[in-house]
């Protein structure tokens, strides 16, 4: 079998894998030599090592990219697990439907979206992606195929949603879409001077807007700590004469020799971005693509971080300690001077996540990219970890490549229950790392 280098989105982790392809949804999982394991791999948008299985096999799922059924009256879509969310949107938006939860990129597969139980800017209303999965088929290495839903085989459903591909292979899924009036959004951008204002603004916004997300200047300190711009939006009516912007895909052709994200570029960008909006409040009409997937316009943007790649730190701080812990996290990051153009703050709502290992829970989530600076960065991460631990928070496996096993196990108390559902043929670098020695 072909051995090939498989990398994840952060470009820090790349490892040779024996590569197998699923060709059709009727294919069975390839038989492996005894002791070997595999991991289903979608479109490689996980940042760290949760989509990798170093020393083992990778089962490529992208060829399972067929639609199976689409009911234009009820908005029920059935498709194979390798279909990209981008393909779904291209199909369903003209018919007046939309995915009820979308992450920050549409270049993820349906299987990947389920396995990481992804969330979007409307988490406070709709919860995670997994909540809108009516049913899915789980193929196990022993050849059994099980249809799972909240009602049918609910334990298998709860293990597979957010299950990081470890419970077997998701071959197809049935999704419930939601009606929209058109592809445009009425967006309001509101500037806030510090993290205190953010909390007030966020709470108010969640009542009246379906989508909310805030960009923050991760370098500002003192009275300006956590200043930024909050975007809040609702789906708007179709404008009869509006022309949809063409899908332009510029690409970063190769990684520059050093990261273009550094102390200087960061300070310039953040200051400029904050002050670019001259008024406190600005209203715009945005096309769905630029609102939901601003980074997808630049293919391979991950290469901007250079050959050493980058880490993302996305954590959630549960409600009781959300305020103090967020302030502490932001102070620590600002003091370190590290960080990225895109630091994101968002409130998670109380809609329960369906998966045993789902990341979203009521509270505040903070996400930042960091160019890989080796030990200096790890020291920063360790101080962030300790703030998170005392606040009872958790890190997002889909974005992680380094969290200590203790932090994972504290943040995901159902991990042992989950491990009963792992397919004997499946494993991942992430899973071995965070359960080692436990």
């Amino acid at each position: 079998m072909a051995s090939r280098l498989v990398a994840s989105w952060g470009n820090v982790f790349r490892a040779p894998h024996v590569v197998y392809d699923m060709r059709g949804r009727d294919d069975s999982i390839p038989t492996l030599p005894p002791g070997e394991t595999l991991l289903p791999f979608g479109n490689g948008r996980s940042y760290g090592d949760s989509c990798l299985n170093q020393g083992g096999a990778s089962l490529q799922m992208r060829a399972l990219d067929h639609f199976i059924r689409f009911d234009r009256d009820t908005g029920v879509l059935v498709c194979e697990a390798g279909v990209l969310l981008a393909d779904i949107l291209r199909l369903v938006i003209p018919a007046g439907w939309f995915l009820p939860a979308v992450p920050g990129t549409c270049y993820v597969t349906v299987g990947g979206a389920i396995a990481n139980d992804v969330h979007g800017k409307n988490h406070h209303r709709e919860g995670t992606f997994g909540r809108h999965v009516r049913q899915l088929e789980l193929l196990r290495s022993n050849g059994t195929r099980t249809v799972c839903s909240q009602a049918e085989n609910p334990a298998w459903f709860a293990a597979t949603v957010g299950g990081l591909g470890l419970t077997g292979v998701i071959t197809w899924a049935e999704l419930q879409l939601r009606r929209i009036p058109g592809p445009w959004l009425d967006v309001e951008s509101v500037r806030f001077a510090n993290v205190g204002e953010f909390f007030a603004l966020s709470e108010e916004s969640e009542r009246n807007f379906e989508y909310t997300v805030a960009w923050i200047d991760c370098l500002s300190r003192g009275k300006r700590l956590g200043r930024g711009i909050l975007q809040r939006a609702n789906h708007g009516q179709e404008r009869p004469r509006a022309v949809a912007p063409a899908e332009r895909n510029r690409s970063v052709p190769f990684p520059p020799p050093v990261s273009l994200v550094n102390g200087l570029s960061l300070r310039v960008f953040n200051t400029f971005h904050y002050h670019r909006q001259l008024t406190r409040r600005r209203r715009t009409r945005d096309y769905f693509r630029s609102f939901f997937f601003p980074l997808d316009g630049l293919l391979h943007w991950n290469r901007l971080y250079g050959p050493k790649g980058f880490y993302q730190y996305q954590c959630v701080v549960p409600t009781p300690h959300a305020r103090e812990a967020t302030v502490e996290l932001l102070e620590t990051i600002a003091r370190s001077g590290q960080g990225s153009f895109l630091a994101v703050l968002k409130g998670f709502g109380s809609v329960a996540s369906p998966g045993m290992l789902s990341f979203p829970r009521p509270g505040i989530t903070l996400a930042l990219d960091f160019p890989n600076k080796g030990p200096a960065l790890e020291r920063l991460f360790e101080s962030l970890d300790s703030i998170l631990t005392s606040a009872g928070g958790a890190l997002y496996p889909a974005k992680d490549g380094r969290m200590p096993g203790t932090l994972f196990r504290a943040g995901y108390p159902r991990w042992q229950e989950f491990s009963e559902y792992i397919d004997p043929a499946c494993s991942s670098s992430f899973w071995r790392r965070v359960t080692e020695g436990a």
């Binding site: 072909a2 392809d21 060709r23 949804r25 067929h66 199976i68 059924r69 194979e80 199909l91």
Partner: protein
Amino acid sequence: MIIGATSAIAEATARMLAERGDALYLVARNEARLAAIAADLSVRGSPRVGCEALDANDFAAHEAMLARAESFLAGCDSVLIAHGTLSDQKACEGSVELTLQELNTNALSVVALLTRIANGMAQRRAGTIAVISSVAGDRGRGSNYVYGSAKALVTAFLSGLRQRLVKCGVTVVTIKPGFVDSPMTAAFAKGPLWARPERIAAGIVRAIDRHSGTVYLPGFWRPIMWVIRTIPERVFLRLSL
């Protein structure tokens, strides 16, 4: 109508045609795969998708299949022939049977289909026939000449057919893809010359719409193959291509 509809290039082409609302008749060997593709194309917008499992090497079955396609589509205005296998050159060198089988699949079955389809379209004085040949057919190379010679036969056959049918208003399109990143080439290491099937498909649809004669896909293969064809034999013999 698409013959070899489960190939990556054919499927990507079919998706583009479905999205613009064309009715399709799909022919391929693998019935389960065909059914999955047919359902997918219906969802994507094709008003009618028919399919038929057939081995292109079963020449006797061609006529009935073509008749069924004709009646399903109520007259078939475009045909894409896309089936083929990438021959294992080393194995072919040691086996007459295998070599002949590869020539059968990649050349003779195409000729058999083309003869019947061409006569039908000539009679109706309308239609477009597009066939996937290959840059490999432009000059036989030591590493791949069984596949290459089959494609050379197809290319020459199409060239003659085009000349014959142009008078009847029938278009014949020769498609010469370069390296395509598909399941057929899963075992190869990919470099900058490789293209995704979607890109080839867009070129095929464009060529069919424009009634092109011969297209290289992507277009940069035209100058590359010009160079390869013009290398003097003395020099060519020393190259390992």
